[in-house]
């Protein structure tokens, strides 16, 4: 069995080590490129959302490298995402690929779920399962921490690409780390290196932008045109509303934490019940950033994503009520980099001028 998986952002490092530790031969999808996107766009329905298209391209590129099994989540909700596995399975079948799917489907009865889990864990005993899970989780936390710190460091880079070079090296070591202590050591070394770059006294003067929206677009660097990196290079402190840990806690019942519903509560005056995906959370996160005194919010939404379209309609009012600027970027395969760059630059120019004026007054 040569297994592959849908990558998003840096989560691939954790997913890969997780599968490898259960003794699977893992064929990681090659990093997403325009070719990946073109393949996905060619075979996916036109009105499918962008993540479906990109991951479809990822699968096909992994199959070209020899993968014969795909691991994926599925089930009912949280939006069209629940159907991805089934839709993609049929598309690949129609294309003539003979692929096994392991779909962790929470709506298909406990027996089926248990069978899928058995396949993933390779019938390992419970101690082994816990150990592997623990290490993968530690890697998730480390990946998130690396990302969070990089946001503070990038505005102070001594040369363009400095932070990325350090991250690349750290990720490589993290991938090889085979125990928790090692992971923590790598992280603390990374923290020290970054501390030398970050100018702590100037941090508070930076324009602060919060990033909210649909989770795949927010977390996948290729899909969001490396927005965090671009903002950092323009001297902006960009913080996500959530990282990989939060997404795992939201969508995997095993890890679910109560704080999530608590955090969404502020959105209730605007959207009373879940509208699927991150729709309601997008509103909550925007309010959260406004209350924390951020200068602006960038809302990332995959074109045709229903929950984010709902959020987009409500954001206008939230933006007025909480006096926070929101820039919505709708992203799909037609989105041009030039348009995104112009909007981001103008948005930052505007926030910088406002901030200067506020300080002057």
């Amino acid at each position: 069995m040569k297994i592959t998986y849908p990558p998003f952002g840096d989560a691939r490092i954790a997913i890969e080590s997780f599968l490898r530790d259960f003794g699977h031969e893992v064929i990681p999808p090659p990093p997403s490129t325009n070719r990946t996107l073109s393949i996905g766009v060619k075979y996916a329905p036109e009105f499918a959302c962008l993540p479906l298209k990109i991951t479809l391209g990822n699968y096909i590129e992994a199959i070209e490298k020899g993968a014969d099994t795909i691991l994926m989540l599925g089930g009912i909700g949280p939006c069209r995402f629940g159907y991805y596995a089934e839709v993609q399975r049929r598309i690949l079948k129609d294309l003539g690929y003979d692929i096994d799917w392991i779909v962790l489907d929470l709506s298909n009865g406990w027996i089926n779920l248990f069978k899928s889990i058995e396949k993933v864990t390779n019938r390992s005993n419970i101690i082994k399962v816990m150990k592997v899970l623990r290490l993968a989780w530690e890697k998730v936390l480390a990946i998130d921490e690396i990302e969070k710190i990089s946001r503070r460091a990038r505005p102070f880079e001594r040369y363009k690409g400095e932070v990325d070079n350090i991250i690349r090296e750290t990720h490589k070591r993290l991938d090889q780390a085979n125990n928790i202590l090692k992971v923590r050591q790598i992280l603390s070394e990374y923290r020290e290196t970054m501390d030398e770059i970050i100018d702590k006294n100037s941090l508070k003067d930076l324009v602060k932008i919060g990033i909210v929206g649909e989770f795949y677009v927010v977390l996948d660097h290729f899909t969001n045109f490396e927005i965090a990196k671009r903002l950092g290079e323009l001297g902006v402190l960009a913080e996500n509303a959530f990282y990989i840990e939060d997404i795992v806690r939201i969508y995997l019942p095993l890890f679910r934490s109560k704080d999530i519903d608590e955090r969404t509560r502020v959105a209730l005056p605007y959207i009373r019940r879940s509208v699927g995906g991150e729709g309601q959370r997008t509103i909550a996160h925007t309010i959260e950033f406004a209350e924390r005194g951020f200068d602006g919010v960038i809302h990332l939404s995959p074109f045709t994503c229903m929950p984010e379209i709902v959020a987009d309609g409500v954001l206008e009012k939230v933006s007025k009520d909480y006096n926070i600027q929101v820039l919505t970027l709708s992203i799909d395969e037609q989105t041009g980099l030039a348009g995104i760059t112009t909007r981001i630059e103008a948005f930052i120019d505007m926030l910088k001028t406002k901030k200067r004026r506020r300080i002057a007054v």
Binding site: K160, G161, S330, A338, T342, R343, E345, A346, D349
Partner: protein
């Protein structure tokens, strides 16, 4: 008196302005980009050179527009800024009390909301080119009217017809349909103006508080039909500044002035006689596969654009290609 050069290289037109330190225009040029921004800028420089001679001293250069990075590298810009900021700066210079700027260019349209002299909100058209200059150009051509006369003809309308303006394709077929029903050309043209204004206000202007004074900038502001349609829809006066089509370039020049440059990077107007070439290649260094553009002046590499990681910006970096 110090002089500043502003260049706005858009999809359809390339505008060049030289301003003095008070922001007065010394020369303003409006040229067609015609798919070759470098040639358009060279043509402009040639005109400036033949009027002022090549030793005209420039104290700062600002570049804006969709080709700003390329042209910025070619001419040696001191400031490279996005079009929204440039238009806002120029609008504010012309009328410090302005609260709304409507800008419609060749392929995009924007709205900029200003309060107390600073930009507080903006939007650009997101998905569709309906209502922009290229579309009007195309329709004028189809009806056999020179684009310069479009507005005057439209204003002769007595009973404007309603045209579906949501999408260029539907607008065009609807216009053909209305022609075939026997409606007058001017009624159709003004109907089109109204449709485009409706489309602009419900898409670009959605949710924005449009307060006077309102400036109308960009090439399409030449079209009186659109101006009047805006005035009727908004019920207030629309001001078209005298240099409406050059506002981006003027804004870029003003930004160069504000930047307080000690010594400009400007390469001079003599680049018109120089051989400027570009050569692109795909960097295979990582999975990003960046499209790198090399810019050569007289065969000498002067700039590289398009890399995300920064290594190509070092012109010495030259692995065996």
């Amino acid at each position: 008196m110090k002089k500043f050069l502003g260049i706005d290289v858009g999809s359809v037109s390339t505008d060049i302005a030289i301003i003095d330190e008070k922001g007065n225009i010394i020369i303003g040029l409006y040229l067609r980009t015609a798919g070759d921004p470098i040639k358009a800028v060279k043509d402009g420089f040639f005109k400036i050179k033949s009027q002022f001679g090549s030793d005209l001293k420039i104290d700062g250069v600002g570049v804006t527009g969709s080709a700003r990075f390329l042209i910025g590298a070619v001419v040696g810009a001191d400031v490279i800024k996005n079009e929204i900021t440039a238009h806002a700066v120029a609008g504010l210079h012309y009328n410090p009390k302005v609260q709304t700027i409507i800008e419609i260019g060749g392929q995009d349209s924007k709205i900029i909301i200003i309060r107390d002299g600073i930009v507080v909100d903006f939007a650009m058209n997101s998905v569709c080119a309906a209502g922009t200059g290229s579309f009007l150009d195309h329709q004028a051509q189809r009806l056999g009217i020179p684009i310069e006369e479009f507005g005057d003809v439209a204003l002769r309308a007595q009973k404007p017809v309603r045209i579906a303006g949501r999408c260029t394709v539907f607008a065009e077929s609807d216009m053909i349909h209305k022609q075939q029903l026997g409606h007058k050309r001017e009624d159709i043209l003004f109907g089109l103006c109204e449709a485009l204004v409706r489309n602009y206000l419900s898409n670009v202007g959605r949710g924005k508080e449009i307060l006077p004074p309102i400036l109308f900038q960009g090439g399409v502001a030449a079209n009186k039909g659109i101006k009047v349609a805006f005035e009727r829809a908004l019920g207030t006066e629309i001001i078209v500044p005298p240099y409406f089509s050059l506002m981006g370039a003027i804004g870029a020049g003003l930004l160069a002035q504000e930047a307080n440059i000690r010594k400009s990077n400007f390469k001079g107007f003599d680049i018109v006689d120089q051989d400027i070439t570009t050569r692109g290649f795909e960097c295979k260094g990582c999975s990003n596969l960046c499209e790198i553009t090399n810019i050569f002046i007289e065969g000498k590499l002067v700039a590289r654009l398009g890399g995300r990681c920064g290594k190509w910006e070092d012109l010495e970096y030259n692995p065996s290609l």
